[in-house]
């Protein structure tokens, strides 16, 4: 049991003082004084181990977390940390620890549903199209094939212009069929970033494998796609013709 607790501690980012981490094993809580937070998956916490030097070093955090945990098992903590107290907003706390937004990024990528992590079952990826004013996010798991995805993307990006507000200098996403033509022509090439961080052309692997490895999508201009794997390019144009 302790072993399991230790594993939980390892994986979570925790706001806590040395020896003052929230006690997971107190079943009886009084209404006053010991407010414990919501489940750890919901409550994003930062580890503020206060070293004498004052610098917060995340690399050392895991080591000191273990120390903290050992202390926990030996004796109860002096004062358990209380959620939301003192009442200082997270944005202020994050800035003060001088971190490189690793905490904040996790928070925001949870919202964006960045590539497959975090969200239960969904494979949310960001889709950008060169020239389009903003990104969309799609859940790859709801599509069955490349064609499904392609249709959905066409629908999504064709809605950028409504009425008379065609953007100056931006591509005119007038209607679906036009967009489909663009997508099908060699002018626009859908590419994706896989889990190794490489940019690949869409369509070169079976659909299921694609869903597993795709982290984000980018519909780029043909001229920019030249840097991508030439073999894939060949295979791609063979498929298209």
């Amino acid at each position: 049991m302790i072993g399991q607790l230790m594993n939980l501690k390892e994986t979570e980012l925790c706001l806590g003082l040395p020896g003052a981490a929230e006690t997971l094993d107190t079943p009886a809580r009084s209404a006053v004084g010991n407010k414990r937070g919501f489940s750890e998956t919901v409550d994003l916490m930062l580890n503020l181990q206060s070293n004498k030097e004052g610098a917060i070093d995340l690399n050392n955090a895991t080591a000191s977390k273990q120390k903290t945990l050992l202390k926990n098992t030996v004796k109860p903590p002096a004062k358990s940390q209380v959620v939301g107290w003192p009442p200082v907003r997270n944005s202020r706390k994050n800035i003060m620890t001088n971190q490189k937004t690793s905490g904040a990024e996790d928070a925001s990528s949870e919202k964006a549903g960045n590539g497959g992590g975090g969200a239960t079952g969904a494979a949310l990826v960001k889709v950008s199209m060169d020239g389009a004013p903003y990104l969309r996010k799609v859940d790859l798991k709801i599509y069955k094939s490349y064609q499904d995805l392609s249709d959905a993307l066409a629908k999504m990006f064709s809605s950028f212009t409504m009425g008379n507000y065609g953007a100056q200098g931006m591509i005119d996403f007038m209607n679906e069929t036009k967009l489909m033509d663009l997508l099908n022509s060699s002018d626009y090439v859908p590419s994706y970033e896989d889990k190794d961080g490489d940019w690949m052309l869409v369509g070169d692997v079976p659909w299921e494998m694609f869903v597993e490895s795709c982290r984000r999508l980018r519909i780029m201009k043909g001229s920019e796609a030249i840097g991508l794997a030439p073999r894939a390019m060949e295979k791609y144009s063979k498929n298209r013709s």
Binding site: K35, V82, G84, R89, N90, I95, K111, A112
Partner: protein
């Protein structure tokens, strides 16, 4: 929204048909005795015209609410002429009701989540979505110009809809919002050609890796204010520089920490007309190729109009003196992201004689506060935030700093003070020295801490504040407090509208004092205090006259909450659960209740139970 809003819609009347007729021309000098073709309803028709012309000048919403109660005609005409609508709780009414009541809205101010949500006291995805509002307004208010949201969930799609639906859109202000990213901002920047104000303040903005600065149109812009200090994403500086150059009306610019000091320097040289500047990171890049350091002070010297300074993220204190040329003019200075020692701070503050608003970290210590007190005689607002926001931290400021401030800054109106040690004497002194106080928020970070000199509870100190500061409208208490403190609040807090209580009080009597006193109480937020059913019931006569009540980790039973919900049908009583699904919990985890004209909301998530 109007607190005493009538539910009835205006009766169908001949007035409507009259409106469609052409009005005969009348010279403004004549009294309105023009003869119209149908003289039967003539006086009503004239009255409505007159009313419309008069009521359009009413600006204050309390005046407008009062005017709308006079009679049905006034109610109707006021509804036609109100152009700015304030909605303090987005769930108090539905968007449809808004668009039915007010026909010509140009500006909307909307508030969503309760404030304690900022401190992780509520799970995410509770609600307060902008989507239904923007979609309803898109059809009803084509001439909408301004949207100001606080604690609202706004998605990129919402922003896109906004940008596309309102051709004359001018001002977007998002405070403590979330749910969107730089891609949504990009659409607004690109589509809203008349945009004057784009202020993102303390909001959570996803980095979609979109160069949104480049999305502003290429001609001269109408921009007057651009604030993006909360956007945690790098920006295209060249594009920003070009944007600033083609924005001749730009007065307020708040940069994020990805803009370096050298870049700020360049911007300032190109924008000397700025009145409000939020610097980016205030440190010099030692690896830059320039041989000589840029003359930062010269850039600040060129900005003769800057009266408001903020930013200073990632501060290198040795560069702080660069701002000295503008200090004498400053009315507002925000150092609350900068860890500045007293020695670095004092030379700066000694030149800021005109300062009215001052925010800082407690790293300036009591010594720094004494320097503020000695120099800033015009100070109206003081906020001291903790550098180390933990209960057990050192706490470099104390009652000494607060006392000094109260003696030096007699015009003080608003205080927010985080500390570890406080005394009743200092609070009593402040209550006498600063009679203009309207906002007093003290956070003694160690819970249940008494007066550290006498060992007594902080009752007398807070009692003096409510008793002597007769203009007090907002109060947040902390430290060791007994029911006596609340007796004082109830008796003397005649104008208090907002009250925040945490870890305080002994019994139900405390809350009863407040609910049976404090005649103007609107917003009550309480956490971790021993208040139970008796106290909750004691306030039933007034919950309809309040905006909301929040009580978390108190001693309320589900049964009592249900009773309240049953007894007050227009009150939405939300019980927000916790991770513990134990049905036999003795006490409700969080109670959040508010009046509503349109019944309980339909978008409540699973962890919310509406009784």
């Amino acid at each position: 929204m109007s607190e005493d809003e009538e539910d009835q819609s205006p009766p169908p009347s001949d007035l409507r048909s009259q409106q469609q007729q052409q009005r005969p021309p009348c010279s403004p000098n004549k009294s309105r005795n023009c003869i119209s073709s149908s003289s039967q309803t003539f006086p009503d028709h004239v009255l409505e015209n007159v009313l419309e012309n008069v009521l359009q000048f009413l600006e204050s919403r309390t005046d407008r609410n009062a005017a709308s109660l006079v009679c049905k005609l006034w109610w109707k005409v006021e509804g036609l002429t109100r152009s700015e609508v304030f909605i303090g709780n987005c769930y108090a009414l539905s968007p449809t009701r808004l668009t039915q009541r007010f026909k010509r809205v140009r500006s909307l101010l909307l508030k969503g989540k309760p404030r304690f949500a900022d401190f992780n006291l509520m799970p995410p995805d509770w609600g307060a979505n902008f989507a239904p509002w923007v979609s309803t307004m898109a059809k009803a208010y084509p001439w909408l110009e301004k949207v100001d949201l606080k604690r609202i969930f706004v998605s990129d799609d919402d922003l896109a809809l906004l940008a596309h639906s309102f051709p004359g859109f001018k001002e977007l202000i998002l405070v403590c919002c979330e749910g969107f990213g730089t891609s949504g901002i990009a659409v607004v920047a690109n589509k809203c050609r008349k945009l004057k104000v784009l202020d993102l303040i303390e909001s959570e903005v996803t980095d979609d890796e979109v160069d949104w600065i480049s999305c502003f149109p290429e001609d001269v812009t109408c921009l007057e204010s651009l604030a993006f200090d909360c956007v945690e994403a790098p920006i295209n500086f060249k594009a920003l520089e070009a944007l600033v150059i083609r924005s001749p009306f730009l007065r307020k610019l708040r940069l994020n920490r990805f803009v370096s000091l050298e870049e700020v320097h360049r911007l300032l040289l190109g924008a000397p007309q700025l009145t409000s500047l939020g610097t980016g990171s205030f440190k010099h890049d030692n690896q830059s190729e320039q041989e000589q350091e840029p003359d930062y002070a010269a850039a600040f010297r060129a900005c003769k109009s800057v009266v408001c300074l903020s930013g200073f993220r990632e501060l290198m204190p040795e560069y702080l003196p660069a701002i000295l040329p503008v200090c004498a003019n400053l009315t507002s200075l925000n150092f609350s992201y900068a860890n500045i020692s007293p020695d670095m701070f004092k030379p700066i503050i000694h030149t800021c004689h005109k300062l009215q608003v001052f925010w800082a970290l407690d790293s300036i210590c009591d010594e720094g506060l004494q320097a503020v007190a000695a120099t800033c005689k015009e100070l109206r607002e003081l906020r001291i935030f903790p550098f180390d926001p933990r209960e057990d931290s050192e706490g470099p400021v104390s009652e000494l700093g607060l006392q000094a401030i109260s003696e030096g800054c007699r015009k003080l109106e608003s205080v927010l003070y985080f500390c570890q040690r406080m005394t009743n004497a200092a609070l009593i002194a402040m209550s006498h020295n600063c009679p203009e106080l309207t906002v007093f928020r003290l956070c003694i970070m160690g819970r249940h801490r008494p007066d550290h000199v006498t060992g007594k509870a902080m009752d007398e100190g807070f009692g003096a504040i409510v008793k002597n500061c007769k203009k007090l409208t907002r109060l947040a208490v902390s430290g060791l407090l007994t029911d006596q403190a609340f007796r004082y609040m109830g008796e003397y807090g005649k104008l208090i509208r907002t009250l925040s209580v945490a870890f305080a009080g002994d019994s139900d009597m405390a809350l009863r004092h407040v609910l049976e006193g404090c005649p103007r109480l609107q917003k009550l937020e309480i956490r971790d205090s021993p208040f139970g059913d008796v106290a909750l019931r004691s306030g039933m006569h007034r919950y309809y006259n309040m905006r909301f009540v929040w009580m978390s980790a108190c001693s309320l039973s589900m049964g009592c909450c249900k009773d309240v919900a049953r007894a007050m049908p227009n009150l939405v009583v939300e019980v927000i659960g916790s991770d513990d699904d134990d049905e036999n919990r003795e006490f409700v985890e969080t109670l959040y209740m508010y009046r509503s004209l349109d019944g309980p909301r339909k978008d409540a998530p699973q962890f919310v139970t509406i009784l």
